[in-house]
Symmetry: C2
Subunit: 419 residues, 2 copies
């Protein structure tokens, strides 16, 4: 029988009514002829409760015990979901991670999949079970201890099962109904995408469109798992949501698929840094040691006449999340005081935001950047930093222009129009 | 190293503070030189919450899924207890039933132990672990599913581990500080017993002194596990609580160890039942089919002259819990209407209570019954039914005389005096 993986996140199984609602969606797929593997999260709030107890008991906790405690949230949902399905006359049973068994590394609270043997679950499908309800987010270490994958691991579990069982598709039910061209709260013209390529989804996810965990999209791309994002809270059918898939399945000819943005950025500029080998590594090594997530980096080289000699100097600009500014500033100033760095001034701008256009069409189309800059110029939006990758162009602008910039770009690339 | 099993019930681990308090007691035993196996229940209230969810999801639930869901309560406590002990610098880890593994039958929600292999836990003790915190009340079926033992199974888990690991003692921490000669709420002279024999404890437990599960006492007796009942909420030392042990360890020469009672009894009499073979089996078969727990049974045979013939007749009296009276009555009347039984009248007395004296000393001492009846007669307490076993004499009396009867018997057998 064809097989489907369906994943329900915490809000989709938040209480018994929602579990029943999710079970209804599973039953429909069974009636369509699918065997189904359902991956469930803990009922929303449960994981936080368990984490709270662990942290209160032991501030520097043993991650093995943390995993043993926290994983029980998913086990509870799995049992309840199996019961609900049975109540609807769907042959179902629950599977805890160790029962499958889901083999992972021993990196507790951040474990990675090693293998998911199919034997046990396949044997039950062969006996007539139609739905295997599997606890997401967990696995079994070589030492026989329970592991967890870290937050968001349930999406990744779903993709890993879809890959292991050769599922026709992996449907991720969540509280949004798909992936949009941009945030509908910022542009009323935002349109739900029918399809999006893995690479585009990765750029959108890491830019803040919090629909799917980056790690699950990477895993889907690597294993060519067709991923569908759709709403738990609406009636859905085979065409609902957004399909995340390979480029070969994308028929649309759009150059740009979406406009992503990140509101809380800061720009820091080290003014007049000596231009010599090793200086960049000194700066960004210092920042990495301080745990600062540097995003964009721009360097401008110029020459300065000191009278007796001419020296090549550079301004080094980078962006980081606004809540890391003080940490970044302290790290750089400490390094400066220790004579490990040499710069004339440190200029911080905490009033910026990042806007990006993303699309695999860029690869084969020239002029995307020009079209972007022109659209921003037409609205008098000043561009402070530019960074480009193969399928993405990002700019920093004053935060007050963020909405304007997003709307202008959405219009400029005709994202409100399908096809 | 000598080994101790310590068991903490739901109220003893009801919240993080109480878990910390229990951990303190464990640490003390480790400092005394014991390796310890701790058996934990779910935090009180947790199991009821989980059971509620299961029943709301599926009224006639699959017991396998019920067990999978409900067992998570103990797993949470086990992890938290291990973390708390680690925080106190005691090398500890949690063990879920399947990790030990605790092999049980596949009778879900009412499973029985098959074996508890020592290898895994012993290996960790050998590596320096001092405390194994084991989830009570659960095990693993041959099919690899999680089983539970049914309510009260945590006491039984503790005794089973004590037997498997040859523990020096099995300490059951609970919300009372030991076993009393009678309920202190009924007699202010009630005295805590230092020791009590398994057989006596069994009679007291089944009579309503709800300190230990009957099944755990049976298992302890069969395996000669020394069982100690003591309070979680008081400072305790090696002499605290009550030791439940073999007769050979009991030095006291009391004939009677305690006075038990049960308030909510009913007495039912079938008047003038034909005295022929099969009549008792007809009556009590009918009651068993109706799920009535018959306790005492008394039969008086007499002859009745019907003029043309003399017939042997009998009055058949039995007792049962008061809340089963209507069920019993209906079953008997239905059988009477179907001509399956023949009696002249059915007399129900719902105003009775049962009082019992229990003691292994009775075996070797005559006159216990006489002393009991005399004490009751001195207080003008009328005895309605008498039943005796090897180490117990029970009587039914009017409920209004219950307290008086208990106090009189407590005095008559000098239970307020030690030794």
């Amino acid at each position: 029988m064809p097989l489907l993986v369906m994943k329900f996140g915490g809000t989709s199984v938040a209480d018994l009514d929602r579990i029943a609602n999710a079970a209804q969606k599973v039953k429909r797929e069974v009636e369509r002829g699918y065997d189904v593997i359902v991956i469930v999260s803990a009922m929303s709030g449960k994981t936080n409760e368990l984490v709270g107890w662990v942290e209160a008991t032991s501030p520097f906790y043993d991650a093995r015990e943390y995993d043993a405690v926290v994983s029980s949230g998913e086990n509870i949902t799995a049992g309840l979901m199996a019961l609900r399905l049975q109540e609807m006359n769907v042959p179902a049973r629950s599977w805890q991670g160790w029962q499958v068994p889901i083999h992972t590394t021993s990196a507790h609270s951040a474990a990675r999949f090693k293998s998911i043997p199919r034997d046990n679950i396949d044997a039950k499908f062969a006996e007539g079970m139609r739905v295997a309800v599997v606890s997401g987010f967990q696995g079994l270490s070589e030492e026989g201890r329970i592991t967890t994958l870290g937050r968001g691991g349930s999406d990744t579990t779903a993709v890993a099962f879809a890959a292991a069982f050769g599922a026709e598709r992996c449907d991720i039910y969540t509280d949004v109904d798909g992936v949009y061209t941009t945030d509908p709260r910022v542009s009323s013209k935002a349109r739900k995408l029918d399809r999006i390529a893995y690479e585009e989804m990765l750029e959108l996810a890491s830019l803040g469109a919090k629909v799917l965990q980056t790690r699950s999209v990477e895993l889907a791309m690597r294993n060519n798992v067709r991923l569908r994002v759709l709403s738990s809270f609406e009636d859905t059918d085979e065409t609902s949501g957004t399909l995340v898939c390979g480029e070969d399945e994308i028929m649309e000819s759009k150059i740009v698929s979406g406009v992503a943005f990140s509101r809380d950025e800061a720009k820091m500029t080290l003014v007049t840094v000596e231009d010599r080998p090793g200086i960049a590594s000194g700066i960004f090594g210092t920042l990495a040691d301080a745990g600062v997530n540097v995003d964009m980096i721009v360097q401008n080289i110029s020459e300065r006449n000191y009278g007796d000699h001419i020296e090549a100097v550079t301004d080094m600009t980078f962006s980081c999340p606004i809540n890391q500014v003080s940490r970044a500033k302290k790290a750089l100033e400490d390094a400066q005081a220790a004579n490990a760095l040499g710069y004339e001034d440190l200029v911080v701008d905490t009033e910026v935001a990042k806007v990006s256009v993303v699309g695999i069409g860029m690869r084969s189309h020239a002029g995307v950047a020009a079209r972007m800059f022109k659209a921003l110029a037409a609205e008098n939006v000043n561009i402070k930093v530019i960074a480009t990758s193969e399928i993405k162009i990002s700019v920093l602008v004053d935060r007050k222009y963020l909405e304007l910039a997003v709307q202008a770009l959405h219009d400029a690339f005709d994202l409100d129009k399908a096809g």
